[in-house]
Symmetry: C2
Subunit: 227 residues, 2 copies
Protein backbone atom coordinates (compact mmCIF):
# COMPACT_ATOMS: atom_id res chain seq x y z
CA UNK A 1 0.00 0.00 0.00
CA UNK A 2 1.43 3.29 -1.05
CA UNK A 3 0.07 6.40 0.62
CA UNK A 4 0.69 9.70 -1.05
CA UNK A 5 -0.41 13.27 -0.84
CA UNK A 6 -2.14 14.38 -3.99
CA UNK A 7 -1.62 18.01 -4.77
CA UNK A 8 -4.48 20.29 -5.61
CA UNK A 9 -2.84 21.05 -8.93
CA UNK A 10 -3.27 17.40 -9.78
CA UNK A 11 -6.90 17.18 -8.75
CA UNK A 12 -7.72 20.35 -10.65
CA UNK A 13 -6.24 18.76 -13.73
CA UNK A 14 -8.40 15.69 -13.20
CA UNK A 15 -11.39 17.98 -13.69
CA UNK A 16 -9.85 19.19 -16.91
CA UNK A 17 -9.26 15.65 -18.10
CA UNK A 18 -12.81 14.72 -17.29
CA UNK A 19 -14.06 17.60 -19.34
CA UNK A 20 -11.87 16.51 -22.25
CA UNK A 21 -13.17 12.98 -22.00
CA UNK A 22 -16.74 14.25 -21.99
CA UNK A 23 -16.02 16.07 -25.18
CA UNK A 24 -14.45 13.00 -26.76
CA UNK A 25 -17.34 10.83 -25.66
CA UNK A 26 -19.81 13.33 -27.10
CA UNK A 27 -18.13 13.18 -30.48
CA UNK A 28 -18.10 9.41 -30.48
CA UNK A 29 -14.42 8.77 -29.79
CA UNK A 30 -14.04 5.42 -28.04
CA UNK A 31 -10.33 5.30 -27.22
CA UNK A 32 -7.66 7.90 -26.72
CA UNK A 33 -4.11 8.13 -25.41
CA UNK A 34 -2.17 10.59 -23.30
CA UNK A 35 -0.53 11.82 -26.47
CA UNK A 36 -3.79 12.18 -28.34
CA UNK A 37 -5.37 14.12 -25.50
CA UNK A 38 -2.29 16.29 -25.11
CA UNK A 39 -2.39 17.25 -28.76
CA UNK A 40 -6.10 17.87 -28.89
CA UNK A 41 -6.37 19.93 -25.73
CA UNK A 42 -2.93 21.54 -25.40
CA UNK A 43 -1.84 19.48 -22.43
CA UNK A 44 1.32 17.59 -21.52
CA UNK A 45 1.14 13.86 -22.08
CA UNK A 46 3.59 12.89 -19.35
CA UNK A 47 1.62 14.91 -16.89
CA UNK A 48 -1.63 13.26 -17.87
CA UNK A 49 -0.13 9.82 -17.34
CA UNK A 50 1.44 10.76 -14.05
CA UNK A 51 -1.70 12.40 -12.70
CA UNK A 52 -3.79 9.37 -13.55
CA UNK A 53 -1.21 6.95 -12.22
CA UNK A 54 -1.61 8.35 -8.71
CA UNK A 55 -5.00 6.71 -8.59
CA UNK A 56 -4.51 3.41 -10.36
CA UNK A 57 -3.74 1.86 -13.71
CA UNK A 58 -6.47 2.96 -16.02
CA UNK A 59 -4.73 2.53 -19.33
CA UNK A 60 -3.65 -0.32 -21.50
CA UNK A 61 -0.09 -0.21 -22.77
CA UNK A 62 0.18 -0.04 -26.48
CA UNK A 63 -3.47 1.00 -26.70
CA UNK A 64 -4.20 3.97 -24.47
CA UNK A 65 -7.32 4.67 -22.49
CA UNK A 66 -10.92 3.68 -23.10
CA UNK A 67 -12.80 6.95 -23.02
CA UNK A 68 -15.88 5.71 -21.24
CA UNK A 69 -14.00 3.69 -18.64
CA UNK A 70 -11.63 6.49 -17.78
CA UNK A 71 -14.53 8.89 -17.59
CA UNK A 72 -16.25 6.70 -15.05
CA UNK A 73 -13.07 6.37 -13.02
CA UNK A 74 -12.52 10.12 -12.90
CA UNK A 75 -16.12 10.72 -11.91
CA UNK A 76 -15.62 8.31 -9.06
CA UNK A 77 -12.30 9.79 -7.98
CA UNK A 78 -13.70 13.31 -8.01
CA UNK A 79 -16.73 12.18 -6.08
CA UNK A 80 -19.03 13.35 -8.83
CA UNK A 81 -21.19 10.27 -8.55
CA UNK A 82 -22.62 11.71 -5.34
CA UNK A 83 -25.00 14.61 -5.46
CA UNK A 84 -23.86 17.68 -3.60
CA UNK A 85 -26.25 20.13 -2.05
CA UNK A 86 -25.05 23.70 -2.14
CA UNK A 87 -26.08 26.85 -0.35
CA UNK A 88 -25.01 30.35 -1.27
CA UNK A 89 -24.64 32.96 1.42
CA UNK A 90 -25.30 36.44 0.12
CA UNK A 91 -28.07 37.11 -2.37
CA UNK A 92 -26.53 40.18 -3.95
CA UNK A 93 -25.50 40.47 -7.56
CA UNK A 94 -22.80 37.86 -7.34
CA UNK A 95 -24.69 35.40 -5.17
CA UNK A 96 -27.74 35.35 -7.41
CA UNK A 97 -25.62 35.11 -10.56
CA UNK A 98 -23.77 32.13 -9.11
CA UNK A 99 -27.05 30.53 -8.13
CA UNK A 100 -28.25 30.87 -11.70
CA UNK A 101 -24.95 29.74 -13.13
CA UNK A 102 -24.68 26.59 -11.05
CA UNK A 103 -28.33 25.73 -11.46
CA UNK A 104 -28.13 26.18 -15.16
CA UNK A 105 -24.89 24.31 -15.59
CA UNK A 106 -25.87 20.70 -15.69
CA UNK A 107 -23.97 18.89 -12.96
CA UNK A 108 -24.28 16.94 -9.76
CA UNK A 109 -24.32 20.14 -7.73
CA UNK A 110 -27.70 21.53 -6.90
CA UNK A 111 -28.13 24.90 -5.33
CA UNK A 112 -30.64 24.28 -2.57
CA UNK A 113 -30.97 27.72 -1.06
CA UNK A 114 -29.61 31.24 -0.70
CA UNK A 115 -29.14 33.03 2.60
CA UNK A 116 -29.33 36.71 3.41
CA UNK A 117 -29.70 39.07 6.35
CA UNK A 118 -31.93 41.51 4.52
CA UNK A 119 -35.51 41.04 5.74
CA UNK A 120 -36.82 42.48 2.49
CA UNK A 121 -35.18 39.70 0.48
CA UNK A 122 -35.94 36.78 2.78
CA UNK A 123 -38.75 34.64 1.42
CA UNK A 124 -38.23 35.78 -2.16
CA UNK A 125 -37.08 33.43 -4.87
CA UNK A 126 -34.31 33.58 -7.44
CA UNK A 127 -35.57 31.26 -10.14
CA UNK A 128 -36.64 28.26 -8.08
CA UNK A 129 -34.31 28.97 -5.22
CA UNK A 130 -35.63 30.43 -2.02
CA UNK A 131 -33.81 33.07 0.01
CA UNK A 132 -33.65 32.03 3.65
CA UNK A 133 -32.86 33.98 6.78
CA UNK A 134 -29.23 33.60 7.78
CA UNK A 135 -30.41 33.33 11.38
CA UNK A 136 -31.89 29.96 10.53
CA UNK A 137 -28.66 28.83 8.91
CA UNK A 138 -27.80 25.79 11.02
CA UNK A 139 -31.40 24.65 11.00
CA UNK A 140 -31.80 24.85 7.22
CA UNK A 141 -28.39 23.28 6.59
CA UNK A 142 -29.38 20.26 8.60
CA UNK A 143 -32.88 19.95 7.21
CA UNK A 144 -31.72 20.34 3.60
CA UNK A 145 -28.62 18.19 4.11
CA UNK A 146 -26.37 20.88 2.65
CA UNK A 147 -22.72 19.87 2.30
CA UNK A 148 -21.20 22.73 0.30
CA UNK A 149 -21.33 26.45 1.06
CA UNK A 150 -20.51 29.36 -1.21
CA UNK A 151 -19.61 32.71 0.32
CA UNK A 152 -20.77 35.67 -1.73
CA UNK A 153 -20.95 38.43 0.86
CA UNK A 154 -18.88 41.62 1.18
CA UNK A 155 -15.34 41.08 2.45
CA UNK A 156 -15.94 42.46 5.92
CA UNK A 157 -18.58 39.83 6.69
CA UNK A 158 -16.87 36.87 5.10
CA UNK A 159 -14.94 35.55 8.09
CA UNK A 160 -18.04 35.69 10.26
CA UNK A 161 -19.98 33.77 7.65
CA UNK A 162 -17.22 31.19 7.38
CA UNK A 163 -17.28 30.69 11.14
CA UNK A 164 -21.01 30.11 10.95
CA UNK A 165 -20.53 27.62 8.14
CA UNK A 166 -17.87 25.69 10.03
CA UNK A 167 -20.02 25.66 13.16
CA UNK A 168 -22.84 24.09 11.15
CA UNK A 169 -20.49 21.25 10.21
CA UNK A 170 -20.04 21.99 6.52
CA UNK A 171 -16.64 20.76 5.30
CA UNK A 172 -16.38 22.31 1.83
CA UNK A 173 -16.49 26.03 1.24
CA UNK A 174 -15.98 28.19 -1.77
CA UNK A 175 -15.22 31.84 -1.12
CA UNK A 176 -15.78 34.71 -3.55
CA UNK A 177 -15.18 37.50 -1.06
CA UNK A 178 -11.93 39.31 -1.82
CA UNK A 179 -10.22 38.57 1.47
CA UNK A 180 -8.03 35.84 2.94
CA UNK A 181 -10.07 33.69 5.33
CA UNK A 182 -8.92 31.37 8.04
CA UNK A 183 -10.48 27.91 8.15
CA UNK A 184 -9.85 25.01 10.48
CA UNK A 185 -7.90 22.06 9.13
CA UNK A 186 -10.84 19.73 8.58
CA UNK A 187 -12.55 22.25 6.34
CA UNK A 188 -11.59 22.66 2.72
CA UNK A 189 -11.69 26.30 1.73
CA UNK A 190 -11.24 27.33 -1.86
CA UNK A 191 -11.14 30.96 -2.88
CA UNK A 192 -11.82 32.61 -6.20
CA UNK A 193 -10.75 36.20 -6.22
CA UNK A 194 -12.14 38.08 -9.16
CA UNK A 195 -10.22 41.21 -8.24
CA UNK A 196 -6.82 39.57 -8.07
CA UNK A 197 -7.43 37.95 -11.42
CA UNK A 198 -8.12 41.30 -13.04
CA UNK A 199 -5.19 42.96 -11.34
CA UNK A 200 -2.86 40.34 -12.70
CA UNK A 201 -4.01 41.32 -16.19
CA UNK A 202 -3.31 44.92 -15.30
CA UNK A 203 0.21 43.96 -14.29
CA UNK A 204 0.75 42.32 -17.62
CA UNK A 205 -0.47 45.39 -19.50
CA UNK A 206 1.81 47.58 -17.42
CA UNK A 207 4.90 45.71 -18.60
CA UNK A 208 6.85 46.98 -21.60
CA UNK A 209 5.51 45.18 -24.65
CA UNK A 210 7.11 42.06 -25.98
CA UNK A 211 9.18 41.16 -22.97
CA UNK A 212 6.69 38.49 -22.03
CA UNK A 213 6.87 38.61 -18.28
CA UNK A 214 10.42 39.75 -17.82
CA UNK A 215 11.05 42.90 -15.94
CA UNK A 216 13.97 45.20 -15.73
CA UNK A 217 14.86 45.70 -12.15
CA UNK A 218 16.44 49.02 -11.38
CA UNK A 219 19.76 48.34 -9.76
CA UNK A 220 20.77 50.34 -6.76
CA UNK A 221 18.65 52.19 -4.33
CA UNK A 222 15.20 53.36 -4.99
CA UNK A 223 14.27 56.39 -3.06
CA UNK A 224 14.93 56.50 0.59
CA UNK A 225 12.13 57.97 2.61
CA UNK A 226 12.60 60.55 5.32
CA UNK A 227 10.49 59.91 8.32
Amino acid sequence: MKVEKISELTTNRLSVYLRCLNELAATGVKTTSSDDMAKRFHLNSAQIRKDLAYFGEFGVRGVGYYVETLREQLIKILGLNNEHRVCIIGSGRLGTALADYYEYTQSNFSVVTLFDTDKAKIGQKIGNIKINDIEKFAEVVEKERIDVAVIAVPAQFAQGVLDLIMKAGIKAVMNFAPIALKAIDEVKLKSVDLTISLESLSYFLAQPVGDNGKIVKPNGKTRRIKK
Copy 2:
Protein backbone atom coordinates in the same frame (compact mmCIF):
# COMPACT_ATOMS: atom_id res chain seq x y z
CA MET B 1 20.69 45.80 -14.68
CA LYS B 2 19.19 42.54 -13.61
CA VAL B 3 16.49 41.07 -15.78
CA GLU B 4 14.28 38.41 -14.30
CA LYS B 5 11.13 36.59 -15.02
CA ILE B 6 8.49 37.30 -12.42
CA SER B 7 6.16 34.41 -11.82
CA GLU B 8 2.44 34.86 -11.81
CA LEU B 9 2.33 33.50 -8.29
CA THR B 10 4.42 36.46 -7.26
CA THR B 11 2.29 39.06 -9.03
CA ASN B 12 -0.85 37.55 -7.59
CA ARG B 13 0.64 37.96 -4.15
CA LEU B 14 1.40 41.59 -4.90
CA SER B 15 -2.35 42.07 -5.25
CA VAL B 16 -2.79 40.44 -1.89
CA TYR B 17 -0.17 42.66 -0.30
CA LEU B 18 -1.79 45.72 -1.77
CA ARG B 19 -5.09 44.72 -0.27
CA CYS B 20 -3.42 44.24 3.11
CA LEU B 21 -1.81 47.66 2.88
CA ASN B 22 -5.15 49.21 2.00
CA GLU B 23 -6.58 47.70 5.12
CA LEU B 24 -3.69 48.94 7.23
CA ALA B 25 -3.97 52.41 5.74
CA ALA B 26 -7.70 52.45 6.41
CA THR B 27 -7.14 51.70 10.09
CA GLY B 28 -4.51 54.38 10.39
CA VAL B 29 -1.38 52.24 10.56
CA LYS B 30 1.58 54.22 9.20
CA THR B 31 4.39 51.66 9.18
CA THR B 32 4.54 47.90 9.08
CA SER B 33 7.12 45.18 8.52
CA SER B 34 7.22 41.89 6.67
CA ASP B 35 6.86 40.16 9.99
CA ASP B 36 3.96 42.31 11.11
CA MET B 37 2.10 41.75 7.86
CA ALA B 38 2.81 38.03 7.93
CA LYS B 39 1.34 37.74 11.41
CA ARG B 40 -1.71 39.85 10.69
CA PHE B 41 -2.67 38.26 7.40
CA HIS B 42 -1.36 34.69 7.68
CA LEU B 43 1.47 35.16 5.20
CA ASN B 44 5.15 34.23 5.16
CA SER B 45 7.48 37.11 5.95
CA ALA B 46 10.40 35.84 3.87
CA GLN B 47 8.12 35.55 0.90
CA ILE B 48 6.84 39.08 1.30
CA ARG B 49 10.37 40.47 1.39
CA LYS B 50 11.43 38.39 -1.56
CA ASP B 51 8.42 39.26 -3.68
CA LEU B 52 8.91 42.97 -3.06
CA ALA B 53 12.64 42.79 -3.63
CA TYR B 54 12.10 41.73 -7.23
CA PHE B 55 10.92 45.24 -7.95
CA GLY B 56 13.17 47.43 -5.88
CA GLU B 57 14.10 48.37 -2.34
CA PHE B 58 10.98 49.69 -0.75
CA GLY B 59 11.75 49.12 2.89
CA VAL B 60 14.06 50.58 5.49
CA ARG B 61 16.16 48.11 7.45
CA GLY B 62 15.52 48.19 11.13
CA VAL B 63 12.24 49.97 10.51
CA GLY B 64 10.12 48.17 7.96
CA TYR B 65 7.87 49.61 5.27
CA TYR B 66 5.96 52.86 5.17
CA VAL B 67 2.41 51.80 4.43
CA GLU B 68 1.51 54.67 2.16
CA THR B 69 4.74 54.58 0.18
CA LEU B 70 4.62 50.85 -0.39
CA ARG B 71 0.99 51.12 -1.39
CA GLU B 72 1.85 53.64 -4.05
CA GLN B 73 4.69 51.49 -5.32
CA LEU B 74 2.50 48.41 -5.62
CA ILE B 75 -0.18 50.37 -7.41
CA LYS B 76 2.42 51.49 -9.89
CA ILE B 77 3.91 48.02 -10.33
CA LEU B 78 0.49 46.47 -10.89
CA GLY B 79 -0.37 49.21 -13.35
CA LEU B 80 -3.35 50.22 -11.25
CA ASN B 81 -2.62 53.91 -11.75
CA ASN B 82 -3.87 53.59 -15.32
CA GLU B 83 -7.53 53.22 -16.00
CA HIS B 84 -8.48 50.04 -17.82
CA ARG B 85 -11.47 49.86 -20.09
CA VAL B 86 -13.18 46.50 -20.06
CA CYS B 87 -15.67 44.84 -22.34
CA ILE B 88 -17.60 41.70 -21.52
CA ILE B 89 -18.59 39.35 -24.30
CA GLY B 90 -21.78 37.47 -23.51
CA SER B 91 -24.68 39.19 -21.79
CA GLY B 92 -26.14 36.07 -20.21
CA ARG B 93 -26.46 35.50 -16.50
CA LEU B 94 -22.75 35.40 -15.84
CA GLY B 95 -21.81 38.26 -18.15
CA THR B 96 -24.34 40.66 -16.66
CA ALA B 97 -23.43 39.62 -13.12
CA LEU B 98 -19.77 40.29 -13.82
CA ALA B 99 -20.63 43.63 -15.36
CA ASP B 100 -22.47 44.55 -12.18
CA TYR B 101 -19.77 43.17 -9.95
CA TYR B 102 -16.91 44.99 -11.61
CA GLU B 103 -18.86 48.20 -11.94
CA TYR B 104 -19.87 48.08 -8.36
CA THR B 105 -16.44 47.17 -7.03
CA GLN B 106 -14.61 50.43 -6.81
CA SER B 107 -11.46 50.13 -8.87
CA ASN B 108 -9.59 51.43 -11.86
CA PHE B 109 -11.42 49.02 -14.14
CA SER B 110 -14.51 50.34 -15.83
CA VAL B 111 -16.82 48.11 -17.77
CA VAL B 112 -17.46 50.05 -20.94
CA THR B 113 -19.76 47.70 -22.82
CA LEU B 114 -21.23 44.24 -23.19
CA PHE B 115 -21.42 42.34 -26.47
CA ASP B 116 -23.95 39.79 -27.65
CA THR B 117 -25.18 38.11 -30.81
CA ASP B 118 -28.82 38.13 -29.75
CA LYS B 119 -30.62 40.87 -31.71
CA ALA B 120 -33.25 41.07 -28.99
CA LYS B 121 -30.65 42.06 -26.41
CA ILE B 122 -28.59 44.45 -28.51
CA GLY B 123 -29.30 48.05 -27.63
CA GLN B 124 -30.56 47.22 -24.16
CA LYS B 125 -28.74 48.32 -21.04
CA ILE B 126 -27.55 46.51 -17.94
CA GLY B 127 -27.38 49.29 -15.40
CA ASN B 128 -25.54 51.97 -17.33
CA ILE B 129 -23.80 49.57 -19.65
CA LYS B 130 -25.01 49.16 -23.18
CA ILE B 131 -25.17 45.83 -25.00
CA ASN B 132 -23.51 46.09 -28.39
CA ASP B 133 -23.66 43.88 -31.44
CA ILE B 134 -20.72 41.50 -31.56
CA GLU B 135 -20.50 42.21 -35.30
CA LYS B 136 -19.33 45.70 -34.48
CA PHE B 137 -16.72 44.38 -32.08
CA ALA B 138 -13.54 45.74 -33.65
CA GLU B 139 -15.17 49.07 -34.33
CA VAL B 140 -16.44 49.56 -30.77
CA VAL B 141 -13.18 48.33 -29.24
CA GLU B 142 -11.28 50.98 -31.12
CA LYS B 143 -13.73 53.77 -30.53
CA GLU B 144 -14.04 53.02 -26.82
CA ARG B 145 -10.31 52.32 -26.39
CA ILE B 146 -11.03 48.97 -24.74
CA ASP B 147 -7.92 47.16 -23.50
CA VAL B 148 -9.34 44.26 -21.47
CA ALA B 149 -11.87 41.65 -22.60
CA VAL B 150 -13.87 39.24 -20.48
CA ILE B 151 -15.26 36.10 -22.08
CA ALA B 152 -18.60 35.02 -20.63
CA VAL B 153 -20.08 32.96 -23.46
CA PRO B 154 -20.85 29.22 -23.60
CA ALA B 155 -17.78 27.01 -24.00
CA GLN B 156 -18.38 26.13 -27.63
CA PHE B 157 -18.15 29.77 -28.72
CA ALA B 158 -15.26 30.79 -26.50
CA GLN B 159 -12.35 30.09 -28.85
CA GLY B 160 -14.06 31.97 -31.67
CA VAL B 161 -14.62 34.93 -29.39
CA LEU B 162 -11.00 34.83 -28.26
CA ASP B 163 -9.85 34.88 -31.88
CA LEU B 164 -12.00 37.91 -32.47
CA ILE B 165 -10.56 39.60 -29.39
CA MET B 166 -6.99 38.92 -30.46
CA LYS B 167 -7.71 40.17 -33.96
CA ALA B 168 -8.98 43.42 -32.50
CA GLY B 169 -5.62 43.88 -30.81
CA ILE B 170 -6.65 43.38 -27.18
CA LYS B 171 -3.77 42.00 -25.13
CA ALA B 172 -5.45 41.05 -21.85
CA VAL B 173 -8.28 38.55 -21.66
CA MET B 174 -10.12 36.95 -18.83
CA ASN B 175 -12.02 33.77 -19.61
CA PHE B 176 -14.94 32.36 -17.66
CA ALA B 177 -15.94 29.74 -20.20
CA PRO B 178 -15.19 26.24 -18.90
CA ILE B 179 -12.78 25.27 -21.65
CA ALA B 180 -9.05 25.52 -22.33
CA LEU B 181 -8.39 28.24 -24.89
CA LYS B 182 -5.36 28.82 -27.04
CA ALA B 183 -3.98 32.36 -27.17
CA ILE B 184 -0.99 33.72 -29.03
CA ASP B 185 2.09 34.59 -26.99
CA GLU B 186 1.61 38.34 -26.92
CA VAL B 187 -1.82 37.98 -25.36
CA LYS B 188 -2.27 37.34 -21.66
CA LEU B 189 -5.09 34.93 -21.07
CA LYS B 190 -6.33 34.24 -17.58
CA SER B 191 -9.03 31.70 -16.90
CA VAL B 192 -11.38 31.33 -13.99
CA ASP B 193 -13.20 28.05 -14.08
CA LEU B 194 -16.10 27.96 -11.69
CA THR B 195 -16.78 24.30 -12.44
CA ILE B 196 -13.27 23.08 -11.71
CA SER B 197 -13.29 24.96 -8.44
CA LEU B 198 -16.44 23.21 -7.33
CA GLU B 199 -15.23 19.82 -8.49
CA SER B 200 -12.11 20.17 -6.44
CA LEU B 201 -14.34 20.58 -3.39
CA SER B 202 -16.18 17.46 -4.43
CA TYR B 203 -12.88 15.58 -4.56
CA PHE B 204 -12.11 16.67 -1.02
CA LEU B 205 -15.50 15.52 0.22
CA ALA B 206 -15.02 12.17 -1.49
CA GLN B 207 -11.85 11.43 0.48
CA PRO B 208 -12.05 9.42 3.71
CA VAL B 209 -12.38 11.91 6.56
CA GLY B 210 -9.41 13.10 8.49
CA ASP B 211 -6.68 12.06 6.12
CA ASN B 212 -6.35 15.61 4.91
CA GLY B 213 -5.49 15.05 1.28
CA LYS B 214 -3.72 11.72 1.50
CA ILE B 215 -5.04 8.86 -0.50
CA VAL B 216 -4.50 5.18 -0.32
CA LYS B 217 -3.46 3.90 -3.68
CA PRO B 218 -4.45 0.36 -4.37
CA ASN B 219 -1.30 -1.52 -5.20
CA GLY B 220 -1.34 -3.92 -8.08
CA LYS B 221 -3.55 -3.92 -11.08
CA THR B 222 -6.83 -2.23 -11.28
CA ARG B 223 -9.19 -3.92 -13.61
CA ARG B 224 -8.05 -4.74 -17.07
CA ILE B 225 -10.57 -3.97 -19.73
CA LYS B 226 -11.55 -6.36 -22.45
CA LYS B 227 -11.98 -4.72 -25.78
